[in-house]
Amino acid sequence: MTAPNRTIMHVDMDAFFASVELLRRPELAGQPVVVGGRGDPNRRGVVSTATYEARQYGIHSAMPLRRALELCPHAVFLPVDLAAYRTASTEVFALLRELSEHIEPVGLDEAYLDVSHRPEPPRDLGAELKARIHSRTRLTGSVGLAPNRLLAKIASDLEKPDGLTELTLDDVPDRVWPLPVRTLHGVGPRTGERLADLGIETIGDLAATPVERLATAFPANHAQALSERAHGHDERPVAPRRQRKSIGRETTFQKDCRSSARLAWLAEEMLTGLVPRLTERGLRARTVTVKIRYRDFVTQTRSLSLNEASADPDTLAAAVQECLRQHTLHRAVRLLGVSLSQLTDTPEGPQQLSIIQ
């Protein structure tokens, strides 16, 4: 294990898209505001960000807008305006870069920084950064400081919003172990379920479980990694991420699918899950691909390139359905995949508004 003398900072802007919207619509402050899709809860789209007022109704990101409307009928729904968020994001990142060159952005509103080289006490560094972000943009962010990325991310979430939290390895038993195991980076719904099957609910449960027992449910190296993370160990460096080439999803059916209507519905569901991954990174996609594997393992893909890159759910959905129409679909289907590629983060040019969807 390397010497625990790194200082990693995780900065996570609070309800970023919604907060940017509130800056230009101050009259909405204090109201439940939901940013997502085209801002019409009766149309396709999922929640990108909700204000803390809206979250009290159980609204969270990635939830379909329609569901959010059911939970809070008087919420204010606003369309995603990436250009505005990008402008605010650029200002925040300029401040982060003044702090450290070792910076790894995660989307428009989140970043890891390696600040090990800074002489100041980490807590002062965090406090000053928060103050500068606020004075420059009038937005708040939560800062987590820790010897590694894993703990820094957990830390930034502990006192959100407007939090400033430092975690050391010594804090792990008291402050990290009580948290649900899903809080750990890399524990998604599937892993979470399998851990629950083993009776593991909290990070502490996981830390207390011998690796050998974990290895009965997971491949050996995965079991090892889970155990290390539960003890607060993580050696991943902060590194600029490679530009993503595509974002996609695939699913293999338990039973081969013979209904084209069902395929169309599933493809749309998959796309609905992909669009937020696009928008939270500030990306737009130009090419849409639908992949189909038939029962006999013959695999075919159909792609469509849009005139202009888009992150608009309706435009992308129309393209997905068109790709699907171009498949022959003459046999039972065992796998369906939807992916978005030719991703671009160049700011959108002037935006032509639409008469019809």
Binding site: Q321, G349, P350, S354, I355
Partner: protein
């Protein structure tokens, strides 16, 4: 097959039907036209599987027959023969032989039976109107059709037939054009059909500004128009056109009255310095003027101040100059009225006092 024909008599129908013969063909026979010679008539047919054009002419035929020959080559040959030439066309084995004076051409052929022509379009309802009227409907609207949009039903023109109305609507999702006129249409019930872009472009080429009638037949999957000596057939787009009534704003609220020609020229000049890709211009409405501003990525700027009559609040709206020019260019009245709400809502544009033709343009956020 064997017939004789004058160059001019042959050239005109060939030119009328050549439009649907595409240059890149996946099926070799689609590069050909079908020639059918009966005892005293000749028909020439071209198709791209979506649109079919057929020309007829009366002609004494020495030996009836049917064959397909390469369309563009035949047209080029006929076109380049001297004026007032006389041609002989005949088939020997699998070659078509065109002879004129001391010129002879031997063209490859494909069997007539393989040519995918559409004779029967099923049960039809028929209406008749003047060529000029149909041409007018298309002329006023066709430019707003979408081009290769994934919403395939937008890549065409909506024709709406109601008992006392005939209406055409086109939209690419960003702007919309609507033209209609009153007519007694003997139909059992109202019909909506979407004619594909290619079909609209072809029929527009064929229709003349004349009171000569055109008979329009509507089948379940086809539309057919019969003109003197020409038959046009197009598949219909199977899809539901958007509810356009919902997106046409009412003619009320803030209204600008402006001279058509000065607006057109102002837009043309301002757009020179707009971003070439988006052609966005800012239209600033204030008091008695309309100012059009543009700026390109090189930060060159244009400003056009036009006198106008406007009673509303000061307003600045971005528009695609191309969409505005399409609408303004199609308006015949010397003065234009434009109804606006704000920078995010559609504008209604029409000739002063006009009710039959309306244009809707959505703004652009610049």
């Amino acid at each position: 097959m064997h017939f004789e024909i004058d160059r001019e008599t042959f050239l005109k129908p060939l030119q009328s039907i050549i439009g649907v013969v595409e240059r890149r063909q996946t099926l070799p026979i689609l590069s050909n036209i079908l020639i059918v010679a009966d005892s005293n008539s000749l028909s020439l047919t071209s198709t791209d599987l979506e649109v079919e054009l057929q020309a007829h002419l009366s002609l004494p035929v020495e030996e009836p027959g049917q064959i397909t020959v390469p369309a563009r080559k035949l047209l080029d040959i006929v076109r380049n023969l001297p004026d007032e030439s006389r041609l002989t066309v005949r088939v020997e084995q699998d070659r078509a032989i065109i002879q004129s004076g001391r010129s002879q051409f031997r063209l490859m052929t494909l069997p007539a039976g393989d040519f995918p022509s559409v004779e029967d379009i099923g049960d039809v309802e028929e209406i008749e109107l003047s060529q000029a009227n149909l041409r007018w409907l298309i002329d006023k609207t066709h430019f707003a059709m979408a081009l290769q949009d994934v919403r395939y039903y937008l890549n065409g023109l909506l024709l709406e037939l109601e008992p006392d109305h005939l209406r055409a609507v086109a939209t690419d999702g960003h702007r919309l054009a609507l033209a209609e006129f009153n007519a007694q249409i003997a139909l059992e019930q109202p019909r909506q059909v979407i004619v594909p872009r290619k079909g609209i472009q072809e029929i527009l080429r064929l229709l003349e500004h004349s009171d000569e009638p055109v008979r329009v037949e509507l089948g379940n999957n086809h539309i057919r128009a019969r003109l003197p000596h020409l038959r046009f057939t197009s598949k219909l787009i199977d899809g539901r056109f958007p509810d356009y009534q919902r997106v046409i704003p009412e003619a009320d609220g803030n209204c600008v009255h402006i001279d058509r020609e000065s607006l057109r020229q102002g837009l043309v000049r301002a757009s020179i310095l707009s971003n070439e890709k988006y052609r966005g211009v800012r239209v600033v409405l204030s008091g008695d003027s309309v100012t059009i501003r543009s700026e390109n990525p090189e930060q060159e700027q244009a400003e056009e101040e036009l006198s106008a009559e406007y009673g509303g609040d000061d307003l600045e709206i971005g528009f695609n100059a191309g969409y505005m020019l399409d609408a303004v260019g199609a308006i015949e009245q010397p003065s234009i009225e434009m109804f606006v709400t704000d920078a995010n809502a559609s504008a209604l544009i029409r000739g002063e006092g006009e009710s039959q033709v309306r244009y809707v343009v959505m703004p652009m956020r610049l």
